[in-house]
């Protein structure tokens, strides 16, 4: 079994003076698909941002392939293989679709953006449009495509299905599964739709008030309605 790709130990982080995450630990091995669940405002987004290096770090270590990256700026982490699809999409509103993609390729050759167009033909049609002109769902696609083009070894997905048509959701989840199972991408997924999350993830982490309150496999969670009711607040699965 390979050593863990990402190893988070005793992480505390937050915004300005506010500490949101407290003493949080978990590990992910290469190629693993980890689902992160939890109610609204429990710190899921904050966790992904902290791994990316966009929040204020208060303590603890984040090891990527054995190297502690917790003191690095976001750009250095990105160059070492962390990639993020943020909840708020955060596409570059004043850049064209194509330029958005080019901004994400790091030092790879320009023509790799064809990969993105194959994945989302819709983006190809809109390649000369400015970011702000895109529809909500198109922005979501662009954000995802941009992150994937950077070839991250650890991909952080924050509610990537939000605002997408059901059919696109299916395709996208399938694509994520392919990327992970090809073995060279580790994926952390935050998702509100329990079904989609459980179908995708091998293992699940439940957050409450900035702490990990449950860890286990998706199968275990799926079997335990009471747990779901307690921590996630949605009624039982149909």
């Amino acid at each position: 079994m390979p050593a863990s790709t990402l190893d988070v130990r005793g992480l505390s982080a937050g915004y300005g003076p506010t500490i949101v995450l407290e003493d949080l630990s978990f590990a992910v091995r290469a190629g693993e698909r980890l689902g992160i669940l939890g109610r609204n405002g429990m710190g899921k987004t904050t966790l992904l941002s902290s791994i990316m290096g966009l929040t204020r770090h208060y303590g603890g270590a984040i090891a990527l392939n054995g190297e502690d990256i917790s003191s690095f700026r976001g750009s250095e982490r990105a160059r070492r293989g962390v990639g993020l699809v943020p909840q708020t999409r955060d596409i570059f509103r004043s850049l064209t679709v194509e330029e958005n993609l080019l901004a994400g390729i790091k030092d790879r050759p320009r023509n790799v953006i064809q990969e993105a167009y194959e994945m989302f033909p819709r983006l190809n049609e809109r390649r000369r449009n400015l970011g702000w002109q895109l529809s909500g769902g198109e922005q979501q696609m662009l954000s995802t495509a941009r992150a994937i083009l950077g070839r991250p070894s650890v991909l952080l997905l924050d509610e990537p299905l939000e605002g997408l048509a059901p059919v696109i959701c299916d395709e996208l989840m399938a694509a994520f599964t392919r990327l992970a199972s090809s073995g060279d991408m580790t994926i952390l997924l935050v998702e509100q739709r329990l079904e989609a999350a459980l179908a995708f993830a091998d293992n699940v982490l439940i957050l409450e008030r900035g702490r990990v309150v449950w860890k286990g496999s998706s199968a275990e969670l799926r079997a335990d309605d009471r747990l779901i009711e307690n921590y996630i607040g949605v009624g039982t699965l149909h």
């Binding site: 300005g16 003076p17 506010t18 500490i19």
Partner: protein
């Protein structure tokens, strides 16, 4: 059904604020009896800063041409005075009306544009007015200034003399009255609407309210206030110069306002006091280097108190106020 408790704390705070301003003014009268001309000028500029705050702080329209409104008031009062209208309160009224008129013109033009282009329109307008005042030297005295204002005594009793007591007290009363008036305006539905427009005009439209007419209305009110300031300056100085309708004055007013903190009426007054006081003290100590000093002051304020000085007070007042939600 649960009910909300009644509001009331705000009113008390406003009363305290107004009393504080009046007290400060009276204290100034007794503490600096020899500097009343300077203090009167300070009041006139505080009126300009207040008027600017209405537009910048409450409507979100940046302007570097606000002296147009001030200058309109000053010249209107000055020209009226030279032509035999010497009753001071009438002159103030004339200035206010002229300022409001200038506000209408300026607002109409400026509201056409957005963002930087709008800022630039304001500069262009003030330069054009400046040029016009210079050209119309038959009425304005051009670059020599409009001199020879002999203002009659206030209520027929109190002369505008060398010591400037009458002018100062008149100015102080005007300031307090205007301040109270503005407090009412910013707390009115209209004031709230303007705050909304500042944050998101599209949202306001979706609420079914027009944006431009309301902004224009605020411009007119702002002009009224600035016009009072201009008229006060004209009456107390008895000369109106081209500087009262210049870009420099507009820029200074904006600097004072930002220094004090925009969007609170207190900020306008605090900023004026700090800027004028600093300038006065430093230029008396070392006239050759005051510019560098003022520069350092501005940089220091941005670093120490990005919200303006009154923002700093707010922060000190309630340390948990800003970042403390957890």
């Amino acid at each position: 059904m649960k009910t909300l408790p009644a509001t009331g704390g705000q009113v008390l705070r406003d009363v305290v604020g107004v009393v504080a301003i009046a007290a400060l003014g009276v204290a100034g009268y007794f503490l600096f009896p020899d500097n009343l001309a300077l203090l009167t000028r300070l009041i006139a500029l505080a009126l300009l800063a207040l008027s600017l705050d209405l537009v910048v702080g409450y409507c979100g329209i940046a302007t570097l041409g606000h002296a147009v409104l001030f200058g309109a008031g000053a010249y209107a009062a000055g020209i009226a005075c030279v032509n035999g209208m010497t009753e001071p309160l009438t002159l103030i009224a004339i200035g206010a009306i002229a300022g409001a008129g200038a506000g209408l013109v300026m607002g109409t033009i400026m509201l056409r544009a957005h963002g930087l282009a709008q800022l630039v329109l304001s500069i262009a307008i003030v330069q054009l007015f400046h040029e016009a005042a210079n050209k119309a030297s038959a009425y304005t005295g051009g670059s020599d200034g409009l001199a020879g204002l002999s203002v009659g005594p206030l209520f027929g009793v109190f002369e505008f003399d060398l010591w400037g007591r009458t002018a100062y007290l008149l100015g102080l009363v005007l300031l307090v009255v205007v301040f109270i008036g503005l407090k009412f305006i910013v707390a009115s539905p209209f004031g709230m609407l303007c705050r909304g427009i500042k944050e998101d005009p599209i949202r306001i439209r979706a609420m079914g309210a027009f944006v431009a007419p309301n902004l224009l209305k605020m411009f007119v009110i702002s002009g009224f206030v600035a016009g009072i300031g201009g008229a006060l300056a004209a009456i107390s100085t008895q000369v109106v110069g081209l500087d009262s309708i210049s870009f420099e004055l507009s820029a200074n007013a904006l600097v004072m306002l930002v220094l004090g903190g925009i969007g609170t009426l207190y900020g306008a007054i605090v900023g004026t006091i700090i800027f004028m006081g600093f300038e006065h003290i430093v230029s008396a100590i070392n006239p050759f280097h005051w510019m560098t000093m003022v520069g350092v002051l501005l940089i220091a304020v941005v670093i120490a108190a990005p919200q303006g000085v009154s923002g700093l007070f707010d922060r000190l007042w309630s340390p948990a106020g800003r970042g403390g939600r957890s």
